[in-house]
Amino acid sequence: MTHATLLAAAGEITSTSTGEAAVFWILAPIAVLAAVGMVLVRSAVHCALLLVANLFCVAVFYMVQQAPFLGFVQIIVYAGAIMVLFLFVLMLVGVDSSDSLVETIRGQRLGAAIFGLGFAGLLVFPIGSAIDGGSAKGLDKANEGGNVQAIGRLLFSNYVFVFEAISALLVVAAIGTMVLGHREREGGRVGQRELMRRRFTEPGRQVTPLPGPGVFARHDSADTLGLLPGGGRASGIGGIPGIPGTTEEPSVTDLPGGRAASDTPGAPGTPGRSDGGPGSAGPGGPPGSRGPDRPGGPGGSTPSAPVPPAPTDGAAADSGAGGAEPVDVNGSALAGAGKGDER
């Protein structure tokens, strides 16, 4: 679409109905605000919700613009399916996590602002300057016999090959997801019995369920483990004295980096865990944190399970018992570290 045709097209635009205008002027600010909010809010869940709001607005615009099919598809597929998928993944990754909004790359925000404004300006002003009331052809003729039917006709005539290709793409995407999500089982199949046996016989295994997210250490017992504000557990398995303040603080502060401080309630505003810059994101960390059985920390500590529920990860290192473990500096952005920043 060249600028000239754009102008030509814009020239034909006519004023539309006032109803539409009303809808537009109500929903457009909402859409923009939702979008801006999505960018600005810290919590990923809030982001998702704001995006949904935006999507709804856009869906309405579709419908207003004689594309009811797309509008509904938008609601069903986007706002329905896709956003649910998002939220699902968010839950998997850690629902309680929020982003640090402290920028770590120098000049990134400034650059984003300048270029963003510039880009918006480039996009908006030519269009704005082109608005001088033309006439839109409208889709009345095309939508004769129904928008869905018309689209269906086109889809299975002119665009049939593209359609088929897209279907293939979907299949590939499905297979790809399976491939990505699949993990090879090592060794033979492990049954319930064996799992149970391991749970109780192997040292250092978690017998009780892991604490639920967001549960702070009101009590610390074998069945309800104490949870530190940073997401770490207050003690080992059933370790009684795990309540913050009563546990050995030094073991926490011994940990390298600003991490300990950020997890400590008394040090708010310290740059988050990834503020150490790229250098601290050593590759050594993650594999270590995956290790099924770390060499025994003092006190038969609480190694995190290979696929733990969210809160146990990086935070595990916060516990004094797990002090022997190299700190999982680049632990979860969503789970552990964010907590400190949130304050």
Binding site: V39, F69, I82
Partner: protein, 99 residues
């Protein structure tokens, strides 16, 4: 009211999405920003479809949605598997491919 307003709106949304991609570190939020950009584009397509009086723009938008769906599925799977290995969903942590 002028249909071109939709274009301006979509330009704004697109830009906001872009900025979102640039400033957010959480991979999932980045992904959402991308969805926002796609939506902005879709809005443009639909608007032009209306301006030109043909349905091709809508078809295009439809395809974009389908592709976006596929992309989201794959993208989230990738994010998950990265998260699994690196315990992080921050795009800044995935920076091994560098100098």
């Amino acid at each position: 009211m002028n249909p071109a307003n939709y274009l301006i709106l979509s330009a704004l949304l697109f830009t906001i999405g872009t900025v979102g991609v640039l400033v957010r570190r959480n991979a999932i939020v980045v992904f959402m920003s991308i969805e926002l950009m796609l939506n902005a584009v879709n809005l443009t397509l639909v608007t032009f479809s209306r301006i030109n009086g043909t349905l091709d723009g809508q078809i295009m938008a439809f395809f974009v949605m389908v592709v976006a769906a596929a992309e989201v599925v794959i993208g989230l799977a990738i994010i998950l598997s990265i998260f699994r290995t690196r315990r992080s969903a921050s795009v800044d942590d995935v920076n091994l491919l560098k100098y």
